[in-house]
Amino acid sequence: SETNKQTSENTIRVAFFPNIGHAIPIVGLERGIFEDNFGNSTTIERKLFDSGPQVIETLFAKSIDLAYVGPGPAINGFLKSENHDVVILSGAATGGASFIVHPNSQINSVDDFAGKRIAAPQIGNSQDVSLRNYLSENGLKPYQKGGTVIVLNIPNPDIYTLFTKGEIDAAWIPEPWATILVQELNGKRLFYEEELWPENKFASVLLIGRQEYVVANPEVVVTWLESHQQTVNWINDHPQETRIIFNQFMQNTLGQTLSDSVVDEALGNLVITTDSVNDSIYTFAQRADSLGYLGRDGYTLDGIFFDKTTNESLGGNN
């Protein structure tokens, strides 16, 4: 609460990952789209993260106001705060996850999964939920639950490492890692995750806000969403420049870049959009719940989506 009070009205603290799926904040901020719309009196403080749950922890600690995260952490944050800390403001990207098979492992379809070691990023994230749901839809169970498929939850960079060593047979993994596995390690893309979804689309990155902040700063939200939309348009019009800006950003913040072909292909596998594909979020929550990720007491997503009208009226009452 200390940090909260210190927040000057003119500082917006926004969290995102140095990852191609987060192209909107990266490109929008690098090109100054957000700054231009807010004017000189507002500073935007960038907070770089590499894990969704950590973003949520930090948001609970009131150290950030807005954040770009996957649906998993967004839903968890909403439910764990008893429906009052997190609100989904908009979509940011859809698609962008694939099932990659190691060149030496004999996997050609789901029929070959038995006895194999299959990796997904951390428990409860989008790919993990999708993988486990896919298994159960195909009548398979993870080894840890008495089944035949060994599911490993490991961070993306470690998936790469283990893929190098041939210690895993396949991975359900987001971009740009999926493309890196394909291009650098000869991984085989068995399928794109969007192929499994209605209309071939599902939300993979969302813009969320800290409810308290959103309610208190309706104008900020409006301006942010406008800039957000403008950035989407710009990116979709300028894929080349997007790649250049992205790599510049990587160089400046992490001192490293990805190869052009990786960025291009990864970007091509994603759709940068404001569409939050709400149905996919409900489906996602349902699947997570059936996996036991959402607690024992049942759940409801009522109020998770930003409702501009109620928000304005709440803001007015303040």
Binding site: S81, L152, D158, K165
Partner: protein, 252 residues
């Protein structure tokens, strides 16, 4: 007398839990930031009921025992060498101090690379986290031996291995015990840390799951389990040895 101590301890923890419950009920902090002991207890109950807790504990302890055994064996030998052979101390000794300052979890990426995602990798991280603490304490212990003991022993014909097993080790034992204790602390931290990052079964994995799902109650529940095991190991193993040594040395 003994009963009295136990009663005091129990009282202390009951009071602690009550204070905790009162603070969390007072609603100063929301429960997603500061859960109540009741919520934490609930999580423990459930994971005990479905067996996952005990499976996790078993896995972790197995890795710990193997890693710590390796660490103690290497650490004691290395420590004695460093204390007795100046050249070893000047060369390997300085390296040990450097390696000691690398946090165990910094080894995780390399462990994954070198050993893969399996028990060996985790045991490596566990052992490497503990080995230097054992080494340094053994070293300090041997260095701090009253020189009269060594002189008397050498004078009575103790040499080489004899000197080590009959004088250096027993004389340095009070220090070495605290070396083992720290070694165990480092190993315990190492194994949990590695499991958090490897995400491959064990208590650290369960803690990480809690974290990934933003479930503070589970995080704290596992921390409590980690603490309880830590206290148990300390109370039932190290305390006993230490008391014996202390009273034999006439230090109490």
């Amino acid at each position: 007398m003994k009963k009295n101590i136990l009663a005091k301890k129990i009282m202390f923890y009951i009071i602690l839990v009550i204070i905790w419950q009162v603070i969390s009920m007072s609603d100063i902090l929301p429960s997603n930031v500061f859960p109540s002991p009741y919520e934490v207890g609930e999580v423990l109950m459930y994971s005990a009921a479905d067996g996952s807790l005990f499976f996790g504990i078993g896995t972790t302890l197995m890795r710990l025992v193997v890693g710590l055994t390796i660490a103690i064996a290497i650490g004691v030998v290395l420590g004695i060498f460093m204390a007795r052979v100046e050249t070893v101390n000047q060369t390997i000794g300085s390296l040990v101090l450097g390696l000691q300052s690398i946090p165990s979890i910094a080894w995780v990426p390399l462990a994954l690379l070198w050993f893969g995602l399996n028990d060996v990798g985790i045991i490596f991280v566990t052992a490497i986290g503990a080995v230097f603490a054992v080494t340094i304490n053994t070293y300090t212990g041997v260095k701090n031996i009253d020189p009269h003991y060594v002189e008397a022993a050498r004078n009575m014909g103790a040499k080489g291995t004899q000197l080590i097993t009959n004088v250096l080790i027993p004389a340095a034992f009070p220090y070495m015990i605290s070396g083992f204790k720290q070694g165990w602390a480092f190993a315990w931290r190492g194994v949990i840390g590695a499991e958090m990052l490897f995400s491959f079964l064990g208590l650290g994995f369960l803690l990480n799951v809690g974290r990934q799902l933003n479930d503070v109650s589970q995080v704290i529940a596992i921390m409590v389990v980690i603490m309880i095991i830590g206290m148990a190991v300390d109370g039932f193993i190290f305390k006993k040895i230490e008391n014996k040594v202390m009273s034999r040395w006439g230090l109490r």
